[in-house]
């Protein structure tokens, strides 16, 4: 049976791209450079200062990219590949802290701070805008006082 190659290749590529985009296990054997780059971009280059494994030209980073590719080609999922590095280097190797456990705090703290700040600003604004109303109320004077003011101002020549 003859299989037309173009549609098969297109389908294969589409599956590969969707897989890479969703972070789902990619099919074994064929690994795109983009996929290696995606994982390497999240790993800290261990011999550099603040560079990812994807961006570093160092020998160590090159070897780590080769290891990423090799493990993907062996059929490991991106999550498993990242876990391989975390098991050896600790979560320090991840450029962005995980959104779970203790490091979730790092993600939540700014949101909490912003919410708290907004609440404080809200309360202050509410207080400040209410003040003129209260002074207006204080300005209301009883008829006796009004009479006295009228008398004293009219008494002036």
């Amino acid at each position: 049976m003859r299989v037309r190659l173009a549609p098969v290749a297109t389908l294969f590529l589409a599956v590969l791209l969707i897989g890479a985009a969703r972070g789902a296990p990619a099919p074994a054997r064929t690994v795109s450079e983009a996929e290696v780059h995606e994982i390497a971009g999240g790993l800290r280059c261990v011999v550099c200062q603040n560079l990812s494994v994807a961006d570093s030209p160092s020998e160590m980073a090159r070897q780590m990219r080769a290891i990423v590719r090799e493990r993907l080609e062996a059929g490991e999922s991106p999550t498993e590949v990242v876990q391989y590095f975390v098991d050896r280097y600790g979560e320090w190797i991840l450029l962005s802290p995980r959104r779970s456990g203790f490091t979730l705090l790092v993600w939540l703290a700014p949101l909490v701070a912003v919410a708290l700040g907004l609440a404080i600003v809200g309360v202050l604004v509410w207080k400040w805008t209410r003040r003129p109303a209260s002074t207006e109320a204080a300005r209301r004077v009883d008829p006796a006082m009004r009479e006295r003011i009228r008398r004293e101002t009219e008494a002036e020549p």
């Binding site: 261990v46 011999v47 070897q63 780590m64 080769a66 590095f85 975390v86 050896r88 280097y89 600790g90």
Partner: protein, 178 residues
């Protein structure tokens, strides 16, 4: 809450942040505890510069000192090379193996290093870097102390001294192999 309390609360709220910064700036970001300490050492199969096979498996029952080095790692690797050779000669008959793993290096330069320091313990290159990543190394020199049962018991970052080596190896020698 009274106005006076509020006046104190705002500067007080900055204290936890200051404390965090005071802690953070004192910590060396390069000193990361290895998650591998206490866990079984990753196995490896290398070929020494002399062409002999070198596996961790074959050393089971002995205390293994795995040292990651490179000929370009000056001065730390140059400082500790005589220490490693001395210790290897002193401890080899007591069940200690010193293993050198040369990473990110050129063969000629590495062999010159071995000749210059007259290193007699097994030394092997790690051309793909797989062994160094398996051990979670992030530089040279780094040294791992593996007990008789094949577990990593300690990691030392930086040049070794006779003192460090002795205090790491002696307790492991006293442990049973089983």
């Amino acid at each position: 809450m009274s106005r006076r309390a509020w006046r104190w609360l705002i500067p007080l709220s900055a204290l936890p942040v200051l404390a965090l910064l005071a802690y953070g700036f004192r910590v060396n970001p390069r000193e990361i505890p290895s998650p591998l300490v206490g866990r079984p050492a990753p196995g490896f199969a290398l070929t020494t510069f002399d062409g002999a096979p070198l596996t961790l498996e074959a050393q089971r029952g002995k205390v293994v000192v795995v040292n990651f080095w490179a000929s370009w790692c000056y001065p730390a690797c140059y400082e500790e090379a005589p220490v490693l050779e001395r210790s290897w000669r002193a401890y080899r008959d007591r069940g200690v193996v010193v293993v050198g793993v040369d990473i990110q290096d050129k063969a000629e330069a590495a062999q010159k290093f071995i000749r210059d320091f007259a290193l007699s313990f097994p030394n092997a290159p790690d051309p793909t870097g797989k062994v160094s990543v398996d051990f979670g190394t992030y530089g040279v020199p780094e040294t791992f102390f593996i007990d008789r049962r094949g577990r990593i018991r300690a990691k030392h970052v930086g040049a070794l001294t006779d003192e460090v080596l002795r205090t790491r190896v002696e307790p492991l020698l006293g442990e049973p192999a089983g």
